[in-house]
């Protein structure tokens, strides 16, 4: 897992005007404040740039309210990028723009052409040693299979996601071998499943709130461990947990609006390492 979290590029996408009203949501009925969403997005991108990542911001598409959540459109690992086939039919068009961007990064781009397959990037957890794919409302077995075919070097294990939108709605990698996990039953069960399926030993960082378990880990040369996590304002208890991490550069990022439409911190970017080629 050496080199885990090393990235050079971040791909994000602008928020379309239709976002506030048109984005898909599972439960939250709270209205999205488009302005605050834009501000948060801006701050988010600023953080990425400040870290030294080359940020590619794709233009918004008004016909695709969810297009800001680029994570679901592609899975990038090493020199290979898998363009997904999002589970929500309304989002399938989002992939096109991503394809262009990834191709421009001269990554080995693989498309998911099987029409029976669905896969949201939000269901894909790459630990550095293996993949876990959540089988959720958005991702099916076939999609996971294609991912396994694409990344042959790694074990790909499936994890049932009974509640919540995505696997990464309640977990993420908070560092090499460190899994941040929510406290809900769903999250804990998924963690157990992952532990059973894996030959590797992972440490876990349990946070009270599922949504807070989604963070973004980056390891920038010269800057060490960097973690973008939820703010104390949003999830005070969970934020405390992150604050206990040592040797980390902790960056609280506000995500009040996106969370209303099931958007977590990692949802808004695709990270790639252009130097990852062998």
């Amino acid at each position: 897992m050496a080199g885990f979290g090393n990235f050079t590029h971040a791909i994000v996408r602008a928020i379309p005007g239709s976002f506030a009203t048109g984005a898909l949501r599972t439960e939250n009925l709270e209205e999205v404040d488009p302005n605050r969403a834009l501000r948060e997005k801006k701050a988010y991108v600023a953080v990425l740039r400040e870290l030294g990542l080359e940020v590619l911001e794709l233009p918004a598409d008004e016909s695709m309210p969810d297009c800001v959540f680029v994570e679901d459109c592609a899975v990038v690992c090493g020199d290979t990028a898998l363009l997904t086939r999002p589970g929500a039919p309304s989002r399938r068009g989002e992939v096109e723009e991503m394809k262009t961007a990834l191709t421009n990064l001269s990554l080995n781009v693989v498309e998911m052409t099987d029409e029976t397959a669905t896969l949201d990037g939000g269901d894909v957890l790459f630990t550095g040693a293996e993949f876990f794919v959540g089988l959720s409302k958005r991702t099916n077995q076939r999609g996971a299979e294609i991912l396994a075919d694409t990344f042959k070097d790694y074990a790909v294990s499936t994890v049932p996601v009974s509640h919540g939108l995505h696997l990464k709605s309640f977990c993420s990698m908070a560092g090499p071998g460190l899994i941040a996990i929510g406290s809900s039953q769903t999250a804990q069960r998924a963690l157990k499943t992952m532990q059973q399926l894996s030959d590797h030993k992972y440490d876990k960082l349990t946070v009270p709130d599922d949504a807070a378990a989604n963070c973004v880990y980056i390891n920038m040369p010269g800057k060490g461990h960097i973690l973008l996590h939820v703010t104390p304002e949003q999830f005070p208890e969970s934020a405390k947990v992150f604050e206990k991490l040592k040797d980390y550069t902790l960056i609280p990022v506000s995500n009040l609006e996106n969370v209303k439409v099931d958007g977590a911190l990692s949802c808004c970017l695709v990270l790639a390492n252009k130097l990852a080629r062998v």
Binding site: T80, E130, D149, K152, D153, A155, R277
Partner: protein, 1024 residues
């Protein structure tokens, strides 16, 4: 194999030490071996080993020989004429196979050496072994494989220590016959062919050693030889068995390949070992067996180039130089470009360094070292089972859907085409669970089972399971990996002090070319037949030759084993758990079952009928227990199967069995479980399950209390029955006087009950079980091709009996108790199975008599008497082993016995016996049962079950010990059921004889009361 068992108990302790001692002794004698050693360029360690091996024969002769002879003779005595015939030939061989097990501790190098010497060995051995005389003559040519082979076997036996005597005999035979030499063609990892002459009766070890010698390989424990069986499946050659018996009619074509992929290749000691591993991996990769990404293909390929071509040389390496190589299943131009690019970056790297880099990257691949097997889950969905160093992986398509690390697995078993693993309960779970998979056929199930056993042993254990001395009755043998474990081979490797052997790296080019300039023989490595991961051949050492049976109770490794049941052999707690899991299993398993619902219904109906009948018959009916038993009793099912097996369908069989089993045969129980579970799950399955579980583990524990039932874990079941040997030992205490007649009547009843309980427990039917945590005893038994079930009921002594079914009935009638049995028996009789009922003779004072014929017996019939007589002899010969039965010494009853029907083959013999026994029925219950909470268990019954599997056979032994007080008598009855399942080459007679012999040996003071043989042929089996 079976013979081993017998010997083990006696010899056990000695053998362990003996190898070393022998070695030492042998070393002293090196003179013999010396010549050989000189001739061969073997490393020092080898010589020592050789010395050992060679000398060993002599030593063994001194000590072991007696045993071996005894065994054989003893067996022969017991055996009916027909049995004898068959056995005479085969027994020796099987034993040989076992021998290796004893030696596992020896360093690999020695083994290798031995092998090498073995070839040469003829000389040394010749001296040691008489037969070798011929061999010596042969000395001149190592090549003269025939001799060598003969010798080799002896050597192995020597290693086995105990076997030496036998070896001597066989060798003699061989010499007399003149050995036939044949040429084996071994495809090496570099694609070259290595022709090797071997004697036709040579064992796998011999050939493997020759190959390793040819390769100059010392760290050979990671490797093995494989061949394709007639179904084109890759199988591992068992080093401990004769080659020809494994390959059947296939050609003598083998492939040398990696069997255990070291998780960390950097820990290998020698470059040559790593090189061979690289060759294997290149093959795996180019054939697509080891999937990897484009980048990885390029990277690994570039290291290959560096290792084989050296630094990139613009002058020499033109644009297309890579095209000559074959790196990936589909090799694109793009890949070649990338390869060249990377190749350039490796400048300055030596071939050895390149290999190391290659391995460091290859080992990270998720499928590295994963041996895949096609299977279906309980719902019929296609999945893949992957056996690897860490455990068992379950894949659906390319996705990993489950994983069972070795520590999580309590038991591995297979039955028919089903493969089961029993899982340790999780933190929050209370009960164990069993997961079943359906393999394409029986052979496939056995293959994966063996692979699991071997991988577990190799990677998880520090040393092969040591045979446990069975405290009690232990029958049966188990297949085990007896080669060195990874830990041991690492230790041994650390002792390798030789200058790195020169070896030439063969080019993996399509066109032959080698880096060194040496002519490359093999052009395309990749094209070579690959060894599929399947079959698990035993490691070099082969199975535990030392057959000592372990009591199940042993748990080799604490960690793994935390099996609930096992520790406390009978411990109550275990049972409940087992019940639960079974219940769960049942539901899941039900699906797997072949039977239709109709069948199930029928079965249930029959069961109920049986119960009724039983109740009537039984003097002291205990409805509850019986019901449980009946339903649960696998034994019944077994009987049924056995009987019906030939012609009838299993289901019908089961039904009849059920009745039977309840009373008489435990054996059936094991088989039945699956079915029973189906039908009866609601009813009583739990008990069975429990019993089964507990049994397997508990087996050897104190005979007294355990009630554990042995069913074993096999849930499903149905199908093939193998050979079941039931040995019942009856010891009566205190009242010799009891009148036979009365007792007889009562006894049967008692027996029936006991057995019934036992039956439920018995694991017997499983084809094979392996308790990762426990050390199991290993017996090897040769099984016949057809699966037959033989039940041998031995009361203190086992008479071989073959008989007619009719007799059985008679017995039954004689024995009132038999009634229960009757039900079952009739069926048996019809089916050809013979049951031998031995009526216990009562000796006034227990132990002493046992050996001899039952004086008191009223009705002994001619044949029975023979039997008894024989038995007694046997006992006398063997040192009596103490049986832990709780019973007080007292009068023993001996049985008389008799009848057996063999399947078509041997229907001829009939025996009658009528024993006499009186008993009043009282069943004393021992705590174990009560403890259980499950009240189902019958008290007073102690049961154990072993399953042993050798390649071709699976033997499950279930032991039930029942103590009863009747009137003033205390009777101890030990019933052993041995279920032997085999592919096709099993020598049933031999197996039976062995079982009987072992039983006698183990319980010298008891008499064999009954021998029941059921033969069942698996109609459904696909494999065969």
């Amino acid at each position: 194999m079976t013979t081993e068992v017998g010997s083990e108990p006696e010899v056990k302790k000695e053998p362990e030490k003996s190898p070393e001692e022998q070695e030492a002794e042998q070393q002293t004698n090196p003179s013999e071996s010396a010549p050989n050693g000189d001739a061969e360029p073997q490393p020092a360690p080898d010589n020592a080993e050789n010395a050992e091996a060679e000398p060993a024969p002599s030593d063994p002769l001194s000590t072991p020989s007696p045993d071996g002879q005894k065994k054989e003779k003893g067996i022969s005595r017991f055996l009916p004429p027909w049995l004898k015939r068959q056995k005479s030939n085969s027994q020796a061989e099987p034993r040989d196979g076992h021998a290796p097990t004893d030696t596992p501790t020896q360093p690999p190098t020695q083994e290798e050496l031995e092998d090498g010497q073995e070839e040469e060995g003829p000389k040394g051995e010749g001296t040691a072994v008489q037969p070798t005389g011929g061999a010596q003559e042969v000395q001149s040519g190592e090549e003269e494989s025939p001799v060598a082979n003969a010798e080799t076997q002896p050597v192995k036996q020597k290693e086995g220590e105990e076997w030496a005597p036998e070896s001597g005999v066989p060798s003699a035979l061989k010499l007399g016959k003149k050995m036939k030499i044949t040429v084996c063609h071994v495809t090496l990892l570099d694609g070259t062919q290595f022709p090797c002459e071997v004697e036709k009766r040579a064992k796998g070890q011999y050939l493997f050693s020759k190959v390793c010698e040819h390769l100059n390989l010392l760290e050979k424990d990671y490797f093995g030889l494989s061949f394709k069986d007639n179904t084109d499946q890759r199988c591992w050659l068992d080093p401990t068995k004769e080659i020809k018996h494994q390959i059947h009619n296939s050609q003598w074509q083998f492939a040398f390949s990696v069997k255990f992929y070291p998780p960390d290749p950097s820990q290998l000691t020698e470059d040559i070992t790593r090189y061979l591993l690289c060759l294997q991996l290149r093959q795996d990769i180019s054939l697509g067996r080891l999937p990897c990404s484009f980048v990885t293909h390029a990277l690994l390929g570039s290291y290959t180039l560096q290792a084989e071509l050296g630094d990139y040389d613009p002058d020499q390496h033109r644009s297309d130089y890579i095209a000559q190589f074959h790196f990936a299943p589909t090799q694109t131009k793009e890949l070649e470009v990338k390869l060249a690019e990377l190749h350039k970056s490796h400048k300055g790297m030596t071939p050895a360094q390149a290999d190391i880099q290659f391995l460091e990257n290859a080992k990270k691949l998720s499928m590295y070292g994963v041996d895949l097997h096609h299977a279906k889950d309980s719902e019929g969905v296609d999945i893949m089972l992957g056996v690897c160093a860490n455990g068992l992986l379950i894949y659906k398509d390319r996705l990993r859907i489950n994983r069972f690390a070795w520590p999580k697995i309590l038991k591995i078993s297979y039955k028919r085409c089903n493969f089961y693993i029993k899982i340790r309960p999780g933190e929050t779970e209370q009960f164990e669970s069993t997961v079943g998979f359906k393999l394409p056929n029986h052979r496939a199930a056995k293959r994966i089972w063996k692979v699991c056993v071997e991988h577990h042993t190799f990677f998880r254990l520090t040393s092969p399971e040591q045979p446990v001395k069975s405290k009690f009755l232990t029958l049966g043998s188990r297949f085990r990996y007896s080669g060195r474990t990874q830990a041991q081979t690492r230790q041994a490797s650390a002792l390798i002090h030789r200058s790195p052997p020169d070896f030439q790296r063969t080019s993996s080019k399509r066109s032959a070319r080698s880096l060194d300039g040496a002519p490359v023989v093999s052009v395309s490595d990749h094209t070579h037949p690959l060894v599929s991961t399947h079959a698990a051949g035993p490691g070099e050492n082969g199975r535990d030759s030392a057959l000592e049976l372990y009591s199940d109770s042993k748990s080799p490794q604490v960690e793994e084993g935390a099996e609930p049941g096992k520790g406390a052999a009978t411990a109550v707690p275990a049972e409940p758990a087992s019940e639960t899991w079974k219940a769960a299993d049942d539901s899941s398993e039900l699906k797997d079952l072949d039977k239709t619902q109709e069948e199930v219904l029928r079965h249930q109906a029959s069961v109920s009928e049986l119960k009724r009948s039983f109740m009537e018959a039984a003097p002291e009916p205990r409805p509850d227990q019986w019901d449980k038993r009946l339903t649960g009793s696998p034994a019944t099912s077994l009987h049924l199967q056995a009987h019906g097996s030939l012609e009838e369908e299993l289901t019908s069989l089961f039904l009849s069995k059920a009745c039977f089993s309840g009373l008489m045969d435990p054996c059936s129980t094991s088989v039945a479980p699956p079915e029973s579970t189906l039908a009866a799950v609601s009813e009583k399955s739990p008990t069975r399950l429990e019993s089964a579980l507990s049994d397997s583990r508990d087996i050897s524990k104190s005979t007294e209390d355990d009630q554990s039932s042995g069913l074993n874990g096999q849930p499903e079941v149905i199908e093939v029955v193998e050979e079941t040997v039931v040995i019942e030992e009856v010891v009566r205490v205190a009242r010799p006087q009891s009148s036979a007649p009365e007792t007889a009547a009562t006894e049967p009843a008692l027996e029936g009950k006991d057995e019934g309980s036992a039956s439920s427990d018995s694991e017997s039917e499983e084809e094979a079980e392996y308790h990762p945590q426990l050390s199991g005893s290993a017996h090897l038994i040769r099984e016949d091709p057809e699966e037959e079930e033989q039940e041998v009921g031995l009361n203190q002594e086992a008479p071989p009996a073959a008989l007619k079914p009719c007799i059985i009935r008679e017995d039954v009638t004689d024995e009132a108790a038999a009634t229960a049995a009757n039900m079952a028996e009739p069926a048996d009789a019809q089916q050809q199975e013979g049951e031998v009922l031995v009526i216990p003779e009562k000796a006034p004072n227990g132990h002493t008599h046992d050996s001899e014929a039952p004086p008191t017996l009223f009705d002994e019939e001619e044949e029975p008497s023979f039997v008894n007589g024989d038995v007694s002899h046997v006992e006398g010969e063997h040192a009596p082993q103490v049986i832990c039965c709780s019973e007080p010494p007292v009068v023993k009853t001996e049985m008389v016995t008799i009848s057996d029907t063999f399947s078509a083959q041997k229907a001829e013999i009939t025996t009658k016996e009528v024993p006499i026994v009186h008993t009043e029925t009282k069943t004393i219950t021992y705590e174990a049962a009560q403890l259980d909470g499950s009240g189902d268990v019958e008290p007073g019954v102690l049961m154990t079950a072993h399953t042993i599997t050798s390649e071709s056979l699976c033997t499950t032994t279930t032991t039930h010990i029942t103590k009863t007080l009747k009137g003033g008598l205390s009777e101890t009855r030990i019933e052993k059921r041995i279920v032997i399942t085999g592919d096709s080459d099993i020598d049933h007679d031999q197996a039976l004889a062995q079982a009987i012999k072992e039983a006698k040996e183990q319980h010298p003071d008891m008499s064999v009361t009954r021998v029941v043989v059921h033969k069942e042929t698996d109609l459904a089996e696909e494999d065969e």
